[in-house]
Amino acid sequence: MDQNKNLSSTERIKQKSDGLRGTLAEGLKNEVTGAIADDDTALVKFHGMYMQDDRDRREERAEKKLERLYSFMVRLRVPGGFLTPEQWIAIHRVAGENSTGTIKVTTRQTIQLHGILRSRIKPTLKAFSKVHLDSIAACGDVNRNVTAAAHPMESELHEQVHAYAARISALLLPKTRAFYEIWLDEEKLTNKKDEEDPLYQDRYLPRKFKIGLVIPPNNDIDVLTNDLALIAIIENGKLKGFNFAIGGGLGATHGNAETYPRLASVLCFVPADDEKLFKAIYEVVTIQRDYGNRSDRKLARLKYTVDKYGLDWYRAELEKRVGFPLEDARPFIFTDRVDHYGWKQNHKGLWYYTPYVECGRVVDDEKVAMKTALLEVAQTGKANIRFTGTQNLILSDIKAKDKAVIQKILEKYRIIEHTEAASAIRKNAIACVALPTCGLALAEAQRYLPTLLGRIEVLLDKYELGEEQIIIRMTGCPNGCGRPYAAEIGFVGTAAGHYNMHLCGDHEGTRLNRIYKENLDEGAILKELDLLFWLYKKERITGERFGDFALRQKWYKQ
């Protein structure tokens, strides 16, 4: 642990934060700025928020002698992405009153609201609390929102697997009461021992930590991009346990060769025995806590720890800590990575409708009144809301007798028409938030991808490839929130209007793509794709996916 001699500044902020409190409470009273103190910007993440500012407005506001338009993004903790209709209604109201109004469905099965002024944070979080929602640990160096296979039609065991998401989230939740004190005005602890945290201690993890649960063969949540991927092993209709794969993570930094995206490596199998399973999950985290890099945050994710010490070492260390022998991983296969659009039925006969939500943005716009439609659905009280890993949502668990009511609302707002009209590439696409709120963005993403997709559709139609389920993802920076490295065509922003184009990833999410060409503008992107699609149409083997074809053609930078 020699690299931890020079602790990063964030490490110091965490340690002296008094249980993630810092000066957040005092900062809320500051009458001079709408921002919070520098050190607190690191701490507020642990409470599920990022301080951001509207980058489109910086120049104009500076001229007006106004500070940047600071606001906060609040991300909820919704393990497995499941909300009751009451919760959805509450979110809808809060979004209208305190944020930009858009409800953004994320790539990790939760929602986030943008543009919340500092003075509106407390009312927002209090409103969430009333419907038993919180944003604790939705960001920060802790275990983030746990994702799980989204669609209940995946398996008869879906409910059983899905339930682990909430339990793992609870297991790895920080013990500090800071969130309740600062944002919900709950009484201060008299005895600090009540929040002693044997897992996170006072230093938390070196970096964020992500866990996902998947039910093969559909890799719908991109499970291998997690620090800890739990792959359900079902044999003879019974959940036997989970394969553990570790070290997934997509963040990288332009020009820093030490950083790279990585998919999780299969480590071992752990049976579905609560005691063993939770112990093993817990100890995977403690090893990263103890061995992860705390001096360079760019090299602090579990993937670097795994590569530094090796898989065998990690397994041995885990075995030592859990106190029982670990079994070898069992065979599994991924054959797809899709959301099931439209009406579907699960084994219990309940109905599910998945609409197409462009870039996960639930909003009423000129295309469709998605937000109003979803509110009306929620108000019937007859459908739960589930989120997918592809920024979509599923109107869920609808009884057969209630299906017509929901159908009527969907027809009224032309949601069905809207969903059916969306092309295959749109339904598989992901874009991160990027400009104007994300401080990391180098280029546009969610504001631009729909336009680019329209132009790509023209090319695909030209070669009669419109039905191909090609996975296209775009991010405004190399940090990987929109998982662009796990796409068949990935666009990673490098500068305004320019993207690195990545190819050769597979459709199932088990093989990362590689850089094909760098710094392309739209004209160059379309010119390249025109040629690539022509070749794909002409020379593909029947049924060959675009990503696999690209690899066979060696379409990557040598």
């Binding site: 009458e31 001079v32 709408g34 407005r57 002698k65 500070e67 338009l69």
Partner: protein, 577 residues
């Protein structure tokens, strides 16, 4: 300073007196002190008989009264200078504000000099209103009185130095003898006023005892030359309010070299009339815009007069009355624009229109507090202008001047003059300053802070600012943040009224900081208030009194007296509108 029994006697006397009696007493004591001349204060002399009750023996000019009527402190400052000069000449000059002047004393005065300014539409300063009304009563007989009036005003206003003229006229009418001609000063009054003092002092020494009038009729003073006008160039014009705000507050930066001003001063502007209105008037009357006329001793073309000099937008009733006389029609006495007047009650011909021009009054200037510091923003003057909006017959109109200013583009020229505000001045560099300036009331305080910053003043600074919304209406936010960071601004409290359900204003923030605020006051801090008179300055004053009462454990009367003391000491100053 006083021995204990003496102090006790005085305290007993004070405790048993009403407020009015105390006010009288303070004036009385001032008179006593003045009567003692150069005697060292506190020296044991027999008290002279009360001045007010004295019937002076043979008239000797070693005792004069200098009374001032002031709104912004300019008259007071001049009167004080005058008193100092007189004292140097061995004349006992009793200096008193007209608001404190005992009106009954006027009949007993022998040498009485007044320095008085004129406000807005020919009004006297509020502080001189009682005196002004008193001398307008018909029965007043002032046979013994020898007097002189120094009038301050602004030639840009239609009724230039009207209050001074009235005082001069009324004193004369009541039998007073004018020993120096009425002097009417424009905004740059220093040298003119100095000369007038000298004339008065000369008069007093050469005519000692005689009291011969120097002039029997008010001299027609030549057009005053005491107004320095400047032409600046607009450097920048920025709407400080962000998108989504219901307000438009323009920050103007004007390049102008060699402009003589101090923090606290205002900039005066005479707005041009809208070109379209002038065009319409010209085509309606058919007059030649290049034809020259002489108005108020100034020759100018009709076009120039209509565009730049004369008020044609809303004529006051007195002008409408004169218009009615010219066109010989019955016109209801109402405020109306010249164009409408010409449409409804046309003039006979060009010649009659020339006559109409001669009755028009100059366009009144608009004053804007300067928000820059001559030291910090060398060669520049900054203004903070709200674009006025008001409704006339349900139609939204904009203020003529604020509209013009808010639409100025860089490189456009702008004519202006400096309007001094002598009472609204920063104290010594080591004194603490509390500034309460919501909305555009922040303008002089930006000037104050920039000035104190560039001077490296050691005194602490505390600003209370307020507006509607934090994100869109926080005027000069980044400037203030910088001053917080560098320590120039010790404290900054803000109140944004519409960011929450209940309205929060600056006075609420003052209340919340009551203990600290009172500590500053006790420590000698100066308090400045700038912004709207009502309700802001009224609420702020009530809150100040409340804080003084509660934190200082005082009765309401004591608190008021305490605040009055601050006022007297120049430590509680308002510039409200």
């Amino acid at each position: 300073m006083l021995t204990t029994p003496k102090l006790t006697q005085i305290q007993e006397l004070i405790a048993g007196s009403s407020r009015e009696e105390l006010v009288w007493l303070s004036g009385y004591l001032a008179g006593v002190v003045a009567g003692q001349g150069q005697a060292a204060p506190g020296s044991h002399q027999a008290l002279p008989a009360p001045v007010a009750e004295t019937t002076p023996a043979a008239p000797t000019v070693n005792k004069i009264t200098i009374a001032y009527g002031t709104e912004t402190g300019n008259s007071k400052k001049l009167a004080s200078d005058f008193a100092a000069k007189a004292k140097k000449k061995g004349i006992n000059a009793k200096l008193i504000g007209l608001e404190q002047y005992r009106l009954g004393d006027l009949t007993k005065e022998e040498y009485f000099f007044t320095v008085i300014s004129t406000q807005g539409d020919g009004e006297p300063p509020a502080a001189a209103k009682k005196f002004y009304d008193h001398i307008h009563q018909g029965s007043l007989k002032l046979d013994r009185l020898k007097y002189g009036v120094l009038a301050l005003g602004d030639t840009s206003y239609p009724l230039f130095c009207k209050a001074g003229e009235d005082v001069d006229h009324q004193l004369n009418k009541a039998g007073g003898q004018r020993i120096v001609p009425l002097e009417k000063c424009d905004t740059d009054y220093d040298s003119q006023a100095g000369k007038w003092f000298d004339t008065v002092l000369q008069q007093l020494s050469s005519t000692a005892g005689a009291g011969a009038p120097a002039a029997t009729a008010p001299a027609v003073t030549a057009r005053p030359t005491g107004k320095k006008t400047y032409t600046g160039t607009v450097l920048a014009n920025i709407n400080l309010n962000d998108r989504g705000s219901s307000k438009k507050t323009h920050h103007l930066e004007i390049a102008a070299e060699g402009v003589d001003y101090l923090p606290g001063d205002a900039l005066g502007l005479v707005p041009e009339n809208p070109a379209a209105t002038v065009e319409a008037i010209l085509s309606l009357t058919g007059v030649d815009p290049s034809r020259k006329l002489t108005i108020r001793q100034e020759e100018a073309t009709i076009g120039h007069l209509l565009r730049k000099r004369l008020n044609i937008v809303y004529l006051p009733e007195r002008v409408v009355k004169k218009y009615a006389a010219i066109v010989q029609q019955d016109i209801p006495e109402t405020r109306i624009g010249l164009l409408d007047l010409l449409k409804i009650y046309p003039v006979r011909d060009a010649a009659q229109f020339h006559e109409v021009i001669s009755i028009l009054e100059p366009t009144a200037p608009r004053l804007y507090s300067i928000s820059s510091s001559p030291e910090a923003h060398s060669g520049e003057i900054h203004l903070t202008v709200t674009r006025d909006r008001f409704s006339v017959n349900g139609e939204t109109k904009h203020g003529l001047c604020s509209d013009l200013l808010s639409q100025l583009s860089p490189d456009e020229p702008l004519d202006f003059y400096i309007h001094k505000n002598s009472q609204f001045r920063l104290p010594a560099a080591d004194k603490d300053v509390i500034m309460i300036g919501p909305g555009t009331g922040i303008a002089p305080f930006r000037s104050f802070l920039a000035h104190r910053d560039s001077q490296g003043a050691s005194g602490r600074n505390w600003l209370f600012f307020g507006d509607q919304h934090f994100t869109t209406d926080f005027l000069y936010q980044t400037d203030l943040q910088n001053w917080m960071q560098t320590g120039v601004l010790t404290r900054l409290n803000t109140a944004f009224s519409r960011d929450q359900e209940e309205k929060v204003y600056v006075q609420h923030k003052m209340r919340r900081e009551a203990a600290e605020l009172y500590r500053w006051l006790e420590g000698g801090a100066y308090v400045y208030v700038c912004g709207t008179k009502e309700p802001m300055s009224v609420d702020v004053e009530a809150t100040l009194l409340e804080i003084i009462r509660e934190e200082g454990k005082k009765t309401p009367t004591q608190a008021e007296a305490w605040l009055d003391e601050l006022k007297e000491a120049g430590r509680y100053v308002k510039d409200v509108y």
